[in-house]
Amino acid sequence: MRNRSLPGAAASALIAIAALLGFASDSAAGAAPPNPDVTVSVTLPPERQLFKDGPGAGLARANCQTCHSSDYIYTQPPLSKAQWLAEVTKMKNIYGAPLEESQLEPIAAYLVTQNGKT
């Protein structure tokens, strides 16, 4: 196991994992049977809280990170107000975000200050 090259921080943890799961210890040892007879438990890293203060931030924090992390919003290309309104409306109508009609515009107005274009 020692001569496997794994990148820095992950190396020691992954070697332990590899042993526990019975991963083939290298690709040449291809005959090793896969071993799904274990319980695999993971701890996912914490998410980033990206919504910055500003008018409408409270609405976004309350409604736009229930189903997914806020990086969904910030990794999009800059969108116009109309495009953000379309996104917010899609969240309500298609994915069932519990939003009032009256909240759609204020959230879109906030999002365009965060990741917008004119």
Binding site: A10, I17, T39, S41, P45, Y72, Y74, P77, G96
Partner: protein
């Protein structure tokens, strides 16, 4: 190797593996994808080396492109991750897990992973798994969705039972139209449509569709669908349902959201349209022919002299017939040498000589031709969903 001695004591004996995210899971290091809002942290998720973080919850992780130069197969710990819904179990018991086969069948089955391994002929297929939205960040104009560069793909040797053998065991009744697949992934709120995908009967019963329990000789990482996922060689990854626990034979074309509304491409012609056009749509299915340079990146400084430029190519399952390489931005082409052939669904490595003079810039490009005759062109495909990009890719390198 001493692996067996590791497996005797402790956690392995009790059949429990607890995998932490590591203390510095969200590393400080960031990379910048070559499009607006392309700044991304590198993050270490369980069973993964540091990958490009697109989103945390649910996790979406992109493979750093230089990994594709390491070899024809993408290591499990570098394989991209893409979930739709944040209700993913963080603990999965590989022994208690069952795949239920039901619907229009004579016998409902509840198969353990062990039964899948022992009761059905094991089949191994090297195949590319590519997200439908791979390369979406390069669309012009940009479209909303996961903003991937080119690393939402990977090539692995998938081992499993043929879906058609499993269906035969259940006995498909007359009137079957599609097979519908669901996994353990669940919506956070009940109002969000569950992630379900369906394949026509002829695709589902083709010999290459697998319920895979192994990936490159190891178990699937949890984030890639442990303990089993559907493998549909040649098709985009949207059909490769992870943590697959439900297979239902249905008597009509599936009307669920992820088939009827999402993951669709324009029906006419090659599926590419002008921005703003609206057209009837069909579900996305097969991948298009693509190729990439892997041994050099855009903007690289190289030393003068001769070297081989290396890359990969793949298509939707006919296999790569040839790759051509250009060092002058596509003005002239030379046929590249192809690497080992791992089957028609796999990456095919290629290489071509480059004789670089001092003080020059070179625009390098590659163009793949598949056995079905399809060939990459310089025309960019635009689709409303950000799918199907497969134009000739190019990059510039400079000599000192």
């Amino acid at each position: 190797m001493r692996r067996s001695s590791f497996l005797i004591g402790g956690a392995a004996a009790s059949g429990l593996a607890a995998l932490g995210a590591g203390s510095n899971a969200l590393a400080q290091e960031t990379i910048t994808q070559p499009f607006v809002n392309g700044s991304r942290p590198l993050a270490t998720f369980p069973q993964k080396r540091p990958l490009i973080l697109l989103t945390s919850r649910p996790p979406q992780l992109e493979t750093p492109f230089k990994v594709f130069d390491e070899g024809v197969f993408t290591p499990n710990d570098a394989f991209f991750v893409r979930w739709h819904l944040a209700g993913i179990p963080t603990s999965v018991d590989g022994r208690a897990f069952r795949v239920k086969v039901h619907g229009l069948v004579n016998r409902t089955l509840e198969l353990s992973v062990d039964q899948l391994r022992r009761d059905f002929q094991p089949v191994e297929i090297p195949a590319v798994c590519q997200c439908s939205g791979n390369s979406r960040g390069f669309f012009d104009p940009r479209v909303p969705g996961g903003q991937w560069a080119n690393g939402a793909m990977g090539n692995a040797r998938w081992r499993g039972a043929r879906l058609r053998d499993v269906l035969a065991r259940a006995g498909v009744k007359a009137g079957a139209v599609q097979v519908r697949f669901n996994g353990l992934e669940r919506p956070v709120l009940q109002t969000t449509p569950d992630f379900i995908k369906s394949l026509d009967m002829d695709v589902a019963t083709s010999p290459d569709v697998l319920i895979a329990y192994a990936m490159n000789d190891g178990p699937l990482p949890l984030l890639n669908g442990f303990p089993v996922r559907l493998v549909v060689p040649g098709y985009f990854a949207t059909y490769w349902v992870k943590m697959l626990d439900d297979v239902e034979v249905i008597d009509a074309v599936d009307q669920n959201f992820w088939m009827k509304t999402a993951y669709r491409i324009p029906a006419a012609g090659d599926g590419c349209i002008k921005p703003g056009q609206t057209t009837p749509t069909v579900p996305i299915t097969k991948m298009r022919v693509r190729s990439f340079i892997t041994s050099l990146a855009d903007g690289d400084q190289i030393s003068p002299g001769s070297r081989r430029v290396q890359g990969i190519a793949f298509d939707g399952g006919s296999g790569i017939a040839r790759v051509d390489f250009s060092a002058d931005g596509g003005a002239t082409w030379t046929q590249a040498a192809l690497g080992g052939d791992y089957g028609q669904y796999s990456f095919r490595q290629w290489s071509s000589p480059l004789d670089a003079q001092a003080g020059q810039s070179y625009r390098l490009a590659c163009r793949a031709t598949a056995h079905d005759g399809s060939v990459q062109t310089s025309a960019t495909c635009w689709t409303p969903g950000g799918y199907l990009r497969n134009n000739i890719e190019s990059l510039s390198v400079h000599t000192s």
